[in-house]
């Protein structure tokens, strides 16, 4: 019977005598469980093994550099105001003469901190950034630690290393 777009009444039959003996039910259940013993195990032995993340996965943040290895962030603060968890703080500074190879814009972030305990990895900072500076990487997560202050990521851990500047193909323009 093909039902479409209609109410579908689900039937309930009274239990038969055989069913009321319960023992077959136990064996049936056990046999299904036993069959699963010999199937491929879905368990991942974390942390030795890690799961493949999807391409869009929103993981640990990175502050990107431009083609010439200069920091892209201009400390405009948009990511901080867009952040629903208020996880981002920064201090802006004026670029001095001779620092043009370090910072792309005249204003830059002297310090930039993300509190990973507050962060909910929603990606709104990335969406807000006008300079395409902050990104959530799809291959890294925040590793577990023991101390609270170890979760406050400063520029030392956020800015991408010089030699990797722009080399990452996992970063794409999400929005």
């Amino acid at each position: 019977m093909q039902l479409t777009n209609r109410k579908k009444v689900l039937e309930q039959k009274p239990m038969t005598v055989a069913e009321k003996m319960y023992l077959p039910a136990i064996f049936n259940g056990l046999s299904i469980t036993m069959r699963h013993f010999f199937k491929k195990k879905p368990t991942i032995q974390y942390p030795e093994q890690t799961r493949e993340f999807g391409k869009e996965f929103r993981g640990l943040h990175v502050l990107r550099r431009d083609e010439q290895g200069r920091e892209r962030c201009t400390a405009c603060g948009l990511c901080a105001v867009a952040c629903p968890a208020e996880a981002i703080t920064m201090v802006a500074g004026e670029r001095k003469k001779g620092e043009e190879h370090l910072y792309r814009e005249e204003k830059y972030a002297v310090s930039y901190e993300i509190n990973m305990l507050r962060c909910i990895f929603c990606g709104l900072c990335e969406e807000a950034c006008p300079k395409e500076a902050v990104f959530l990487q799809n291959d890294k997560t925040v590793p577990p630690r023991f101390e609270r202050d170890e979760f406050i990521y400063g520029k030392d851990r956020l800015v991408e290393p010089l030699n990797q500047a722009n080399s990452k193909d996992n970063i794409k323009y999400r929005y």
């Binding site: 039902l3 479409t4 777009n5 209609r6 109410k7 579908k8 009444v9 689900l10 039937e11 309930q12 239990m15 069913e19 009321k20 003996m21 319960y22 077959p24 039910a25 136990i26 049936n28 259940g29 299904i32 469980t33 699963h36 879905p42 993340f53 999807g54 391409k55 869009e56 996965f57 929103r58 405009c76 948009l78 105001v81 867009a82 952040c83 629903p84 968890a85 909910i120 990895f121 929603c122 990606g123 709104l124 969406e127 807000a128 006008p130 959530l136 799809n138 323009y173 999400r174 929005y175």
Partner: protein
């Protein structure tokens, strides 16, 4: 459907001495202000006497109006407003009744004698606003701790911990808190003994695997039989509604993810439908279909969690593992599309955050090929198992009338024989274009609730398949000035668009003044966001109506007379999430 005019005329002819003030709202729900002294009479009339009566108290809440910007909105003046949302199943329409209250701590007549589910709603309003209800049988705090000072949803109450000074627990305070925690059965309306026996009191929870979250149920037992059960909720209360008043319209989206945390994007949808009504945004077809597809994936994920844990509650230990690994398969799709798993934060005002990724068709198709086989195996393992049947058939029965009286929605309602599904009856987001059946039960017991949900997963697969086959082309964002964030190609081109971007991100969009309510068929029942804007960058009031709240309220009523073991079947079959109850 009956027109609003007719309702108003009927009311006016019946209550000729009362003044009714109509208010226009963005969601076209008929909104009527009625005088305080006739609340009970008018509501009684609406429930029992009017043609196609409003038998269902959908929601009851309040609004603190004292700081509302009135220049933008023509509403009668009041300090507080009580808002009753009633629903008529026969007329398929909502009505919104508002009552203005005056004074700092006003009071209003209780309607607990009219609707059984008004009890908790009124307690909630009392707890969060300090509005008293005369004639309420047990007007005590429900979400906040008993020792809490102030009423959080009043505008003068701080919204952040940092505005309240550091937390200190000095000795005296500790004693006070301890004192408040002492268990006195009388305070919960429980007798210590009956004529011939002393009752035993037992706590299930707040930490108990059978409660699926932080929920405490105080059981009054006579031997193994439940004399009464009192759920204590509020442990999971995070003030989601209060946060709505301080977040911008845009940055509130991630908070909605966490209301029914098994429902993921379904929460985004309920919220955004209300925002889009307020803003007057019509989203493109493609957005609608993608939204429906992801919602159905989450329905399957949520039902799988329910299925596994339900079986586990009844003593079957293996299904939950298999089902969780299948849920992982759903999450693979979700993660590939949304970038997040349980909290995808993926829908946006006027669209989606991104378009579907390349290769999504294969992912979805793989899941469609894979999952039906598994459902079959689960049928053999769980639904056909006679032990499972013995523990669920005939347990926790309620009738359709009782269900409506207590405000039950979703699969629990459909297990009683009603085919009420908001996706079908009041289609939203393009559900009218999809072909699917509404599974219903007959007996309203735990087993039927299980049957209905399992069948719903199959129907969800059908919907997903149709999405896959007929995905329309087009943009993933609406072309509307309030779409947030706008398509990137429209922003940051020159200084003008850059400034727009700055304003858009820092303040967020300004949603025009008005009121709107959405109503969707979420994983657990009817979920609504009732949003009020006074033309600002954040909601003036964000009310979340969740299905689990009234379901949990019904627990004492359906457990009396059963045994403790049955209680776990009833809890398991109810399918609630504590975050959904407490918000």
């Amino acid at each position: 459907m009956k027109s609003n005019r007719v309702i108003l005329e009927q009311l006016q002819s019946r209550f000729s001495d009362a003044t009714f003030t109509e208010q226009t709202t963005k969601d076209e729900i008929f909104t009527l202000w009625i005088p305080l002294d006739q609340v009970q009479k008018i509501l009684r009339y609406l429930k029992y006497e009017i043609q196609s009566p409003f038998t269902f108290l959908y929601d009851l809440t309040a609004v603190d109006e004292r700081t509302r910007n009135r220049s933008t909105n023509h509403v009668p003046h009041a300090d507080f407003t009580l808002v009753y949302h009633l629903f008529s199943y026969t007329g398929n329409c909502f009505i919104r009744i508002k009552v203005g209250l005056f004074g700092e701590y006003p009071s209003a007549p209780s309607i607990t004698s009219l609707w059984a589910n008004a009890n908790w709603y009124e307690r909630e309003v009392f707890d969060l606003f300090g509005i008293k209800f005369e004639g309420h049988p047990h007007l005590a705090r429900i979400l906040m701790p008993r020792t809490w000072e102030g009423h959080p949803l009043r505008k003068e109450h701080p919204a952040r911990a940092t505005e309240m000074g550091p937390f200190r627990l000095w000795d005296e305070k500790e004693d006070r808190e301890q004192e408040a925690l002492l268990f006195r059965p009388e305070e919960w309306g429980l007798e210590r003994q009956s004529e011939d026996s002393d009752f035993m009191f037992m706590n299930i929870g707040p930490q108990h695997p059978g409660t699926h979250g932080v929920l405490r149920i105080i059981l009054q037992l006579d031997g193994e039989d439940i004399v009464d059960a009192v759920p204590e909720i509020g442990f999971h209360h995070r003030g989601a509604e209060k946060m709505g008043e301080r977040q911008s319209w845009h940055t509130y989206i991630p908070y909605t993810d966490r209301v029914d945390y098994l429902g993921g994007v379904m929460n985004n949808l309920a919220y955004l439908l209300a925002v889009e009504k307020l803003a007057g945004i019509e989203v493109p077809e493609r957005v609608k279909v993608i939204r429906v597809m992801m919602c159905e994936f989450f329905r399957i994920a949520s039902h799988l969690v329910w299925y596994g844990t339900f079986a586990q509650d009844l003593g079957q230990l293996s299904p939950v593992f298999y089902m969780f690994s299948d849920r992982e398969k759903v999450f693979q799709v979700v993660e590939a599309v949304c970038g997040g798993r349980m909290h995808p934060n993926w829908f946006r005002i006027g669209g989606l955050s991104q378009d579907l990724p390349k290769g999504w068709e294969t992912l979805v198709q793989n899941f469609l090929d894979y999952f039906p086989k598994r459902l079959k195996e689960y049928d053999a393992m769980v639904l056909k198992n006679s032990l499972f049947k013995a523990r669920t058939k005939g347990i926790g029965i309620f009738t359709l009338e009782e269900a409506i009286e207590w405000g039950v929605t979703g699969a629990n309602l459909r297990a009683c024989g009603s085919d009420w599904d908001f996706r079908k009856k009041r289609p939203y987001s393009g559900y009218e274009f999809f072909d699917f059946d509404i599974p219903t039960g007959q007996n309203g017991d735990c087993y039927d609730r299980a049957l209905v949900r399992v069948e719903e997963m199959r129907q969800s697969l059908r919907i997903i398949e149709q999405c896959l086959k007929h995905m329309p082309e087009g943009s993933y964002k609406a072309d509307h000035p309030l779409t947030t964030p706008p398509l990137k190609k429209h922003t940051m081109q020159d200084i003008e668009t850059l400034i727009t971007h700055f304003l858009n991100v820092s303040w967020g969009p300004v949603i025009p003044a008005g009121e709107a309510m959405s109503c969707i068929e979420a994983t657990k029942g009817a979920n609504s966001y009732y949003l009020i804007s006074d033309g600002n960058t954040s909601p003036y009031r964000a009310r979340i109506r969740t299905p689990s709240f009234p379901h949990m309220q019904m627990l004492p009523y359906i457990t009396r007379g059963y045994t403790v073991a049955d209680l776990l079947s009833i809890l398991g079959a109810m399918d609630y999430v504590l975050a959904d109850i407490d918000r």
